[in-house]
Symmetry: C2
Subunit: 331 residues, 2 copies
């Protein structure tokens, strides 16, 4: 097992054993909300730390990395709990959402409890992690507050701003937190943050595709939720025939920009992002629309490895022929 | 103007000029929610720092103290915003609550935004402040989650636990944060925390009295809210005739315990707590029930000054004859 996998296992174990809040009924709801999903954000933290040269043999560095990864996942789950109230969403990760299980009041406070735990984990990590954690929550809340304006006056620019704040900023913060936990200097932290931000924008575009074409049994939520809530996505803002290709074009260009943000020492990490996102996408695309699946595979296949990546120059990051056995989407 | 007053003025100014979230309609709601009230928790932070010997001539110490004070007030207001959703409360500080002004979704996210800002302020303060800030939010959320059990199975013990978590822990955290911002050692931080905790319990008992006897025009919220929400208070758990005296007995004993927690160097601060709480109480007691007002004044009057307080030993902390001109309840 690699260092990265071992640290992600520790994150997974911690998420599975949350501290009690003193009310058994609520403890069950909290444990359910924290059941580990893909752990894409913790993976961003841990891989950013590794790419920044973290000394993962040192116990205090491992501690700082794991706390930063937990902080970011707890923040993510907390905002999902509150989002599901706002969206009236009954399903999350294939199970009843917190609001569906426990009602409005408990869901509000469970979200706050998870924010408290995330904030504590950030504080227990390394200097600077609390600051990027708080900024992520601030910008995610601002993004959510922009939703009403986006619904009232949809535009490509407003949608891009909304998606960047609500989704991509947490990936930026995750990448920065990993670099901070590694003790990286400010330049590396910022470069990793740019990688995270562009990766996060690509992720959001992919998520929009999955909202329309994903297999609900695999995404754990019904398709078409954005449309039902009246929140425009990039896909809904362009004419039907062109949407998928235009969104895939954006995914490829964001991922290229993400990788070009990285210092040479971190280029293998850049390739990981492409692979992780491609796998996460192809796994859950509905087999009912093989044409969309093929277009997605082709788009990801166009992404060549970064210049300093140890693979041969002509080999793409991802061998898309193997997309049907991708159990390791969280790696 | 004393150093303490000057710092509280800075806190007040910062609360009056929150950063924009990018949505003007929401900025108005946020500004309204943050309109400075009594600032009892920021005063706890600033006075704890002063009592711990903070070098208030040093710019970085003043910065740390102000950020800690802001962090604690932002946390307080954020939880009020969420509480008002849960309680269906339309009024807060004499104005429409955030949920009444802006609806459920916006109120949830405004609360989260304020938590983000509070977390950022804690991170910008001094080492350790983020940790006590996060613990306060955690315990306050746990307290709120206990509410259902308290309603279902009321008892004196359950009510005391609920009030301690939901209200007193933030005063503990405030006192600790002030000492941390002052650079105090762990023993002083813990002693100040105990002071804050007992003060906070006294405060909650007083708040229960005000919920029944306060003048709504002065408390800014209707009386009887606890009873309407079915949440037992200490006052409601004992027979009618005995309630007020029993609660006042608890107030006096908590304030005595608070003061006895403090090191001699901080005894003047201990007297401040008595005065601030007495003034805040007597100001808003309904003149319609002068008998209750007189009993409260008598109870507070029983609190002698701390042994090392510069006043004469025989003079009580508070001259209760002057309770009718108390504009300075936040000082």
């Amino acid at each position: 097992m690699t260092d990265v996998d071992a640290l992600l296992d520790r994150v997974r174990d911690r998420l599975r054993t949350p501290a009690s809040c003193g009310v058994p009924r609520v403890d069950g709801v909290v444990a359910d909300a924290l059941r580990p999903g893909k752990l894409l954000r913790p993976a961003m933290v841990v891989r950013s730390a590794a790419a920044a040269g973290a000394d993962l043999a040192a116990a205090e560095v491992r501690h700082a990395v794991v706390e930063a990864a937990l902080a970011t996942e707890l923040l993510h789950v907390a905002t999902l709990v509150h989002d599901d109230i706002i969206d009236g969403a009954d399903l999350r990760r294939g199970r009843a959402s917190v609001v569906a299980q426990a009602g409005l009041s408990t869901a509000i406070v469970v979200g706050d409890l998870l924010l408290a735990r995330g904030s504590a984990a950030a504080a227990a990590s390394a200097p600077g992690v609390s600051t990027v954690w708080a900024r992520a929550l601030d910008l995610m809340a601002a993004g959510q507050l922009h939703e009403g304006e986006l619904v009232d006056l949809p535009s490509l620019a407003a949608q891009a701003e909304y998606a960047s704040l609500k989704t991509a900023e947490l990936f930026r913060s995750s990448a920065e937190a990993g670099a901070l936990a590694a003790g990286a200097d400010a330049g590396v932290v910022a470069a990793h943050g740019r990688y995270g931000l562009h990766f996060g924008r690509a992720f959001q575009h992919v998520d929009d595709l999955l909202d329309r074409y994903g297999d609900p049994a695999l995404t754990g939520k019904p398709t078409g939720a954005d449309a039902r809530n009246g929140v425009p996505t990039r896909l809904s803002l362009v004419p039907d025939g062109r949407g998928v290709d235009e969104v895939l074009e954006l995914v490829v260009s964001e991922l290229r920009e993400a990788r070009s943000s990285l210092p040479p020492a971190a280029s293998a990490w850049g390739c990981w992002g492409v692979e992780a996102l491609a796998r996460a996408t192809l796994v859950v695309l509905d087999d009912a629309d093989p044409e969309v699946t093929a277009r997605v595979a082709t788009a990801f296949g166009r992404l060549e490895p970064a210049p300093h990546h140890p693979r041969t120059e002509t080999q793409p990051c991802l061998d898309t022929r193997h997309h049907s056995c991708p159990h390791d989407v969280s790696a």
